[in-house]
Amino acid sequence: MSDLLRLITLQDANTRVVLLGAALLGLAAGVVGTFAVLRRRALVGDAMAHAALPGVCLAYFVVGERNFAAFLIGAFIAGLIGAGCIVLIRAHTRIKEDAAIGIVLASFFGLGISLSSAIQQQPSGNRAGLDTFIFGKAASMVRSDVVFIGVCAAAIVAIVAVLARELGSLCFDRGFSASIGRPVVWLDFLLMGLICLCAVIGLPAAGVVMTAAMLTVPAAAARFWTDHLRIMLVLSGVFGIVSGVVGVGISALRPGLAAGPLVVLVAGVIFVVSLIAAPRRGVAAAWWRRRSLRRRVLLQNLLRAMHELLEGSSPRDLRESELLAKRAWTTTQLTTALRRASRMGLAQPGDHPHAWRLTPAGVTEAASVTRAHRLWELFLIEQAEIAADHVDRDADQIEHVLPHDVIAALEARLVAQGRLPASPHAIPVVGSGGPHA
């Protein structure tokens, strides 16, 4: 417990430095990751993180000792070479991008592992700390390492902040950006370089696989909450910071646990929460919308069936068997709908068991529903091509979202055919907020 207290009050200088580094790293990965995801370069980040490894080893051969900055520069160059290989393979062969990424990722990583085991064989090799670049070990970083990483991360964030609009424009519509004279090829290179730099500085803290995940997960999570690029950037950055700080913090408390996996786990939790709970784009919201729509459609089908059975005759009770035969629905669906109609005061049990009648409110609502349905039918037959733009095409059951003004235009036609159910003008039209919920 006292460990936790020491951690959150940042009493330990080394912890302070490491947490600050983790926060900056998370922020950089979050904002760059936003563009990596929007430009569909998420897997390229993965490939570059893997491709960076032989660069670290070669840097060791050149320098001959553990030199953090040299390792990262080697990693950066190797990562860019890996990305370049992907571009070349795609441009000059029939191999598609996903296969090219797989090929480059595996071969560079294989080369990196071979080189690093060769280095470990050397007498001084295990002091090089190369394994931290594969699995990540935030705690093993010394102050100067963290400062180096932090400066790189801050530079990345600054570049993205200045160029956010142009990078967004590039991701949305590269052709348009080019048409107004932006050097899109160079912007793409710059984005690639930022992704690579981000992957490389994440290596010592989070390891190869985890650093690639940090370029994707926070951005993907942020996308659930917003439809605005700026908010997405901020959210993704915040998610990155939280993942970095919490993950590294837990790892500092429990020295047995590596920081990299913990950071990604925290990000994963944020992602799952976003996936489920985000309004509008989240799974729960989508499920709720489908459920409400289903219930509304079912109720309206019931009202229409009742109206049509009663049409042209005097009011009477309707047997459930009659209603069941009227439409293709199950007994359960019918019972559910009847119970709901009854709760809403639109229908009530009749004199006999399994018989139902419409309440006065129900009669009005049923007429209104039927009217809207027939108008919509007519609309589809006669005007769909002209007015299709006024209809929300996303709705599964468009007959229930016909807008008010279109309905008015069609009424006259139905009157002429004698098929317009009598209904006072005060009745709200279906889809414009009637009493149904």
């Binding site: 609009r165 949305f172 519509d173 048409s179 004279g181 917003t226 002209i386 733009d389």
Partner: protein, 256 residues
């Protein structure tokens, strides 16, 4: 090629050849497109219509030849050019709303870092209003219908306040209401003396919507005023013996 009266030339395409993967898509296209007209580029699939637009915009490398816009090389004339790409060319789930897309039309004059000001926002909103999309300004673009998305693209080009507009299949897959809205905008642009060059795939509406036509099938077949050039013979040369297309063309010719 006949240009009835001596008008200013909006675009000069001079001996342009474009090749993708060593396979030529455009061969020695040489044409003058007059200013102040609504110009349709017509031809079968794979005829290089979009490629020609991209060549004019400098988006594809030219294997040979050159393009001039109002007598100037492209890089000195960019601010005069507005562009409406094919709707399918972008990801409509991108996190941006309709106003955001229209504002992109101002980026060219804003430069790299200057943020859009009040005047830019007003210009973007006015453009949206011109295509009947003002009520949808703050709607995320994936929640727009195909026709509405096309109109937002058009609004972005209008916000560029260009002199020459290049449009890649602006009428593709849109509903009738959008088609009318686009036609109205095109006519208004012509009244303002602007030039529109549009890739168009519906032969029947060529005489109605455009006054100048360029027939293309990897090579230039013909270019000129619709009544002079849009003939059965030229269409036959452009499309070969494709029956359905020729029937459409015959239908269109009856209406000229």
């Amino acid at each position: 090629m006949t240009v009835a009266q001596a008008t200013e030339t909006a675009v000069e395409v001079h001996d342009v050849t474009v090749a993708y993967h060593r396979k030529p898509v455009l061969w020695d296209v040489d044409v003058l497109l007059p200013a102040g007209h609504l110009i349709a580029i017509v031809g079968p699939n794979g005829a290089g219509k979009s490629t020609l637009l991209k060549a004019i915009l400098g988006l594809v490398p030219l294997a040979s030849g050159k393009v001039e816009i109002f007598g100037r090389p492209l890089r000195k004339a960019r601010s005069l050019v507005g562009y409406v790409p094919q709707r399918e060319s972008v990801d409509w789930d991108f996190p941006i709303d309709a106003l955001g897309v229209a504002l992109m039309g101002r980026y060219g004059r804003l430069g790299w870092v200057r943020r859009p000001g009040k005047a830019d926002r007003e210009a973007a909103l006015t453009s949206l209003a011109k295509v009947g999309m003002a009520d949808y300004a703050d709607r995320q673009i994936s929640r727009l219908s195909g026709g509405q998305q096309q109109r937002v693209f058009l609004a972005r080009a209008l916000a560029q306040d260009a002199t020459l507009y290049l449009m890649d299949e602006p009428f593709a897959g849109v509903d009738a209401a959008t088609e009318r809205a686009i036609v109205d905008v095109l006519r208004e642009l012509r009244e303002q003396g602007k030039t529109v060059i549009a890739v168009h795939h519906d032969l029947q509406t060529v005489p109605e919507y455009f006054d100048h036509v360029m027939l293309l099938n990897m090579r230039l077949v013909a270019s000129g005023a619709v009544q002079d050039v849009f003939t059965r013979e030229n269409l036959h040369k452009t499309y070969g013996g494709r029956l359905t297309v020729l029937e459409e063309a015959a239908e269109a010719l009856r209406r000229v």
